[in-house]
């Protein structure tokens, strides 16, 4: 979705690179929801009570305004990826600040967050999802699928999970992903497709183990 929009915004991006705060404000407003999604996805659930994602967005904006001169040097980087970088720096700071006591690896904080993958949660999710589904069996099946998905994601190795996270939870394009991972777009694409295949395999493995008896 973004490749087409980059053209529209490139004018703005140029202005932003020249230090225009108005341009930054417009671009920031445009990417606001995507950035928010990144925060939601990356933030530790224990912190959500203390810091709202709006706060983080605001801090990111302030940081961006302050560091706008830096952006002029990042000629390779799109405005979105630069802002994303700032968001992640904010997140690292906040995690460090709030979870200091637990001495957790800041890198680890940036991984997939555990979302209490209990069947109950999955069931609740499934019920939400399934408003139109009337048969109870379908709700249960749905809950199972979600549980499989959560556990499959958690079982994947770091690299695979990260590429799926970037592409689907952060909703980056392949080109953006390549940029973030410092890879050629074709290599990023290959890695993504491989990760998705593995996910698919893990899913069917879970299903087999669950329903093995019926076969």
């Amino acid at each position: 979705m973004s490749d087409t929009s980059i053209g529209v915004k490139s004018e703005l991006t140029t202005q932003m690179r020249q230090g225009s705060k108005d341009a930054l404000a417009t671009i920031f407003a445009n990417y606001r929801e995507r950035l928010r999604r990144i925060i939601q996805f990356r933030i530790d659930y224990r912190i959500t009570a203390r810091v709202s994602d709006s706060d983080i967005l605001q801090d990111t904006y302030i940081a961006a305004a302050k560091r706008l001169p830096h952006f002029s040097q990042q000629t390779e980087m799109s405005a979105f990826l630069w802002l994303r970088l700032l968001v992640k720096q904010q997140l690292v700071d906040i995690h460090r600040q709030h979870l200091k006591a637990e001495k957790r690896d800041a890198r680890k904080e940036m991984g997939l967050q555990p979302h209490q993958a209990s069947t109950q949660t999955s069931m609740a999710l499934a019920v939400q999802l399934a408003e139109s589904i009337t048969a109870a069996s379908e709700v249960v099946a749905r809950a199972e699928t979600i549980a499989f998905l959560e556990s499959s994601l958690n079982e994947m190795d770091e690299i695979d999970r990260e590429v799926i996270a970037l592409r689907h939870f952060e909703e980056l394009t392949n080109i953006e992903t390549a940029c973030v991972l410092n890879l050629q777009p074709s290599a990023a694409s290959k890695r993504y497709l491989r990760a998705m295949r593995r996910l698919s395999q893990l899913m069917s493995k879970h299903e087999d183990s669950q329903h093995g008896g019926e076969a």
Partner: protein, 939 residues
Amino acid sequence: MNPDEQTHHEDNVEPKQSPAPTKADHFDLDKIGELFADTIRGGAYPNIDVYLQMYPENADEIRELLESISLIETFKQSKYAVSDPSARHTIFTELDDYKIIREIGRGGMGIVFEAIHEPLSRKVAIKVLANNLLGESKHLVRFRREARAAAKLRHSNIVPVFGVGTSGEHHYYVMDYIDGMSLHQWLMSLEQDRSPTAPTVDIYSANTFTDENTNKPIEEDALQQPGVEPSTIQDTPRYQRWVASLGISAADALHYAHSQGVLHRDIKPANLLLDRNNTLWIADFGLAKLAEQNAVTATGDIVGTPQYMPPESFEGDYDIRSEVYALGLTLYELLTLKPAIEGNGTADIIRKATRGVSVRPRRLNPKIAEDLETILLKALSHEPADRYTNAGELRDDLRCFLADHPIAARKTNPVGRVIRWSRREPKVAALTITTFLLLGALTGVSAFGFWQTKLALGRAKASEQTSITSLALEKIAKNEADGQKVLAEKNLQVAVKALNEVMENISRRGIETGAEFLAEVTDTTSPNVSAEDAELLNSLLGFFDELGRNNSKDLLAESAIAAKYAGDISMRLGDLHKAELAFNESLNRTRELAACEPHEPANLVAQAAILNELALITGLRGRLKHADNIFFRTKRLLQSCPDVMATAEGRFHYAIANRLVASHATRIGIDEPSPNQGVGRNWLARRVRLTEPKPGIDKAQIALREAINVLTNLTDQYPENQLYRVELARAYRDKAVTASLARHRTLAENSIQRAIDLFRELLVANPTLDAIRYELALTLCSTETFNMDQVRRSVEAHELCQKLLETSPDLPHVKALYASIRATLAERQMRNAKYQAAEDTWKEVLQIYESLIQTAPNVLLYERRHSDTLESLAELERKQGNGNAARNYLEQAIEGLQLAIKRSPDSPVMRLQLNRLIQRARKQANAEKTTVSKSSIGE
């Protein structure tokens, strides 16, 4: 699961606004995926087949990828739902003192969360009510009143309600957390597992089905109807009996609630919970009223889920027979696995609900027992007058069914009833259009309202963060003056419940069944409380302290009781200091409570009871004079009002006070020996040499006479009250001890015999009560008798004690009793010059006391007996001429006592004992020196 099911949308939903995928020049799987994902993010449900058709040669690859994408994207959307972006992040994590763990579910009235009450680390369930239900303050008042009524319900099948609270704009309802599932969920899971061919798994294991009367698993084979091969589990008699037993529990709980004037108003499978022990719990008492009072006020009693509403409720009639009907509907559904009322859409359901149940259970499942069906039909009669008149009758008939007795429903011409039942026509001709509209509105509003509630809660959370509690309080203060009270009351009830559980734990482990059955004065400090109890208790005590600071009047009664409880437990923990503080606290609150009615006998008696506890503790801490003062306070208090001594309880506590003061007076006589009294006493006063009667003894005798008089009258008047008897027997025992100290042999012998007889009778009446067994054993060896009975009694005490140790090997006071019995034996062995045997026995005794001191370092008595034992061992060695060994033992005793005195510096008795030991050790050293010098001269 078939992977196709994951993408079920595609089967019936046309892709909307889906940008038609255009075939690229070359096959780029990644691009296809990106396009597909974007389409989903745009809110459409793209059809995978469209993509497949474009690249048939790569169909498998594409399907695999797109299915995964579809799954992830839907998953993500649901996770970070929804339209309001500002609320997406919100995870509701705290509510006043409660930390939210997870959402359990959402239902008719709000969202239910599992939560932890942080100060007490107690798991609770919290229902946050939809805001629209409590829009006006008069509704709020009513809601609180209802919740309070529900909180008063105490029944083993009703989910305990702790209270209500308000946080920001949100009202919540705190109840006990039931680990299990609702019958609704259970039915759903059953539907899931049910297959037409055979039951897949027996998810409800054999012990699921227990006979309500025997509580034993029902043997399936025994109940199996001959020749009937059950195709599914619900066809078995076992299953039906299980359903019947659930019905019994529910009906019993309802009957009880009705007797308390509380109607549930929304009985349905979702409100009946099944915990892991297979116990049924009714949830949400009184909550249904909320919906009624607000959403449909104008039309009256339309409330609840139409599917589970009795016909008359649509006309605004609702009483206990309506709840009988609603329970009948639930049982119907459990037996047939089909809702009794089904329809397409709300209007249809309401129409059917007003007509009542039209399909007999046996038509759906012929294997249902006829009697059970008859019971259901009676409960489900369309006319309330034809139903059971109350839930108790339904329960009794279900019991008859389980016991294979004839049921009451059958007696009334079953044929006629069934015909009448199946032929009847809807009484409610038409539902008013207003009612219907309002009902529809209610359903819609609630669904929306809860979502709103959750979002708003999150928002409130994010913006208020730290100040949420104060904001909440402010808000309540604005709305209602007693806002804070509500909060405090809720917390208090959680705390009291936690306390009750600790007490239950203790009495399950211990032999005492309650504070009343505390053992002999000096032995009450048995810390048979686990470390966890202690920890929980400490947090509770802190909690009560805090509560005490800002309590309003209404809470005084409860907090006074709680403080007394806390004192009792501290005492068992051996922390006498803390116990004293707690009892004082309790006394202050009780007194404050009594301030408005200073002459109300119950208030005075309550104060006297606490004063007695205080006297006991003060005595245990060795401050006998102070204990004496407390006695005079108690006496004055009880005699200040003639009405008090007219009550049995008043006289009872007066007698206890007298008995306590006697035991203290006796100890003043013993523990403060005259300076020329060379040899100390041990715990049975065997070695006491009383040259002249001590004034303390006289006083004790007078007090005991008074106690015995009062208690004798009480036991005559209330022969069924066992506590009075226990107390009387204890008074006789004390009298015997006192008499024996004063050398009134006959009186001592008669009194001890009386005490023994009384305890024997009590034990015969309560053969399982170990507390009485303990008292008897204690009595059997508590005086030195002057005939051959002594040996016989020692043997019996020994046997009783061994029995006690078998059942509760770790109870300190039992161990202590055993040690003292063994010590008696050792003394006899010593007297008979069986030195080797005596030494072995003494060493055994020593070991017991050592372990006791380890587990209960606060109990002075164990320290002193430990030191006594060492002294006896020293004496033994001295008699055998081993001076060195004797001195060794004495030094050990001195060391131990010095340590003990450091821990409890305010015990004059221990100091006396220490001085005596030091003197002895000196004497022993001197004696040795002379021996040594003599022998050296001899050489």
